[in-house]
Subunit: 94 residues, 7 copies
Amino acid sequence: MIKPLGQRVLIKRAEAEQKTAGGLFLPDNAKEKPQEAIVVAVGTGGRDENGKLIDFTVKENDRVLISKYGGTEVKIDGQDYVIVSEQDILGIID
Amino acid sequence: MIKPLGQRVLIKRAEAEQKTAGGLFLPDNAKEKPQEAIVVAVGTGGRDENGKLIDFTVKENDRVLISKYGGTEVKIDGQDYVIVSEQDILGIID
Amino acid sequence: MIKPLGQRVLIKRAEAEQKTAGGLFLPDNAKEKPQEAIVVAVGTGGRDENGKLIDFTVKENDRVLISKYGGTEVKIDGQDYVIVSEQDILGIID
Amino acid sequence: MIKPLGQRVLIKRAEAEQKTAGGLFLPDNAKEKPQEAIVVAVGTGGRDENGKLIDFTVKENDRVLISKYGGTEVKIDGQDYVIVSEQDILGIID
Amino acid sequence: MIKPLGQRVLIKRAEAEQKTAGGLFLPDNAKEKPQEAIVVAVGTGGRDENGKLIDFTVKENDRVLISKYGGTEVKIDGQDYVIVSEQDILGIID
Amino acid sequence: MIKPLGQRVLIKRAEAEQKTAGGLFLPDNAKEKPQEAIVVAVGTGGRDENGKLIDFTVKENDRVLISKYGGTEVKIDGQDYVIVSEQDILGIID
Amino acid sequence: MIKPLGQRVLIKRAEAEQKTAGGLFLPDNAKEKPQEAIVVAVGTGGRDENGKLIDFTVKENDRVLISKYGGTEVKIDGQDYVIVSEQDILGIID
């Protein structure tokens, strides 16, 4: 498994579907399409200007909303994951 | 529902109308058209350089003025919302 | 009425006239035309790097000099106003 | 009169002449032409990162050297002035 | 051998293979191809704003994931190495 | 005479010659031609983020090496001088 | 001799050879060709945000690896040297 470095997060995108489990509908024609994803692992943690570790706001298994085209795609054991910076996560889906 | 991450805010745009409830008239030919919106949810909070949580200036149900083209559009249960950074909100309408 | 967010200021531009009340003459052919305006409302206040509220230098009813093309125009009850960042105000007219 | 905002300074350019009072000769073909000017008023003062007021290095009536094309021109009672940021002043002429 | 300067790291890329030892499969058509590598040496250490040495998150012999095209290639005794900034390492492979 | 403002320095370029007094030879075809100069006056001093005056590293009469095309040229009593930022001085010639 | 200003370093590039003394082979077709060099003199020292002198990581006679095209070339007594910022040095060759 991959432990993301710094303030990065490893996520798994949800399958594309018209109406998601969270009741979130993602229109086809949106300029900047957000997409649901599950947080698989948070990173080793970034550091602020004083060298203090920054806490993550998201945690494992959180359902999050991310931009469709951000991050770096990796494949682990045949499955697709994405490594994104936590600040590129738009929100947490309750 | 979505909890925006960091200093982001979830808003619902007001219907386009010539004369809004707050007496705010938005001309058609303005270069950068601002638009009324309602704050639906504030985010998890950003952090300043010392890692201290930054308070939100806006709160739920505030009527605010935002730029017409900023933010990321999302649809929840068939309704349109926008996730914007709080610093892109121009003002609060009393 | 609108309460500008952060270090923004709501202003009303003075009518264009050759010789203003303050004796300030604004030439037609200036490259970057400044323009007189009245401060209608100061914002909720910006914050410095330590999260401390920054005081406004201008206050309500101050006559100020701003760049002609800066800010965002809004109409309230049929009158034109502009929301500008305080640091885009060039000076206060005594 | 105008009180410049922040770290700005109100200056009056010296008349163009071949040999200035300070013995400073300004060549016609210099790529970036500096020009003599008199400080008419210093601003309300900028603030450093800790919110502390920054002192001005120049003061009223100082003869200074500025770039010919910087700043914003304003006319007060028929006379031309320029509002420049203090850090765009190249030097003080003794 | 080379001791990288500052927050840089000396790495040796893994041989290109379809299925790596860590079970990490790297698709041919990924827009930004990440690639496995081994950390050979960490640098002399960067410094934060207060001049304090920043610890490395990776250490010698860590298997890491880096962007395929980042860093500077060097050859030592006929073998290819890469010098990358630690913040360009995407994650550590357990 | 001119007192440069902030961290600026007033210098006088050395005459162009193939082999300078310091044994420094400046090739004609160098991409970025450095050039010898004499420090005539240091500025009023810049300030760091805490508002503390920054000391100058160079002092009057130092022979320095600067980029040939940097700074702003001024003429004083018929002689050419240049005002440069101290950080654009490459080195001091012993 | 030249004393570089600030965090700059004066270096002398090693002669181009296929296999260097340190066993470092530099391929002809590398996109960004690094090159061996000897540190001849470190600078007067940079300063961090608090005005404290930053120590140099490299010292005189260190063999270092730098980018082939960085820095400013100078000739001293007929020999070629380069002035580079210390942070553009990739590593120290042991």
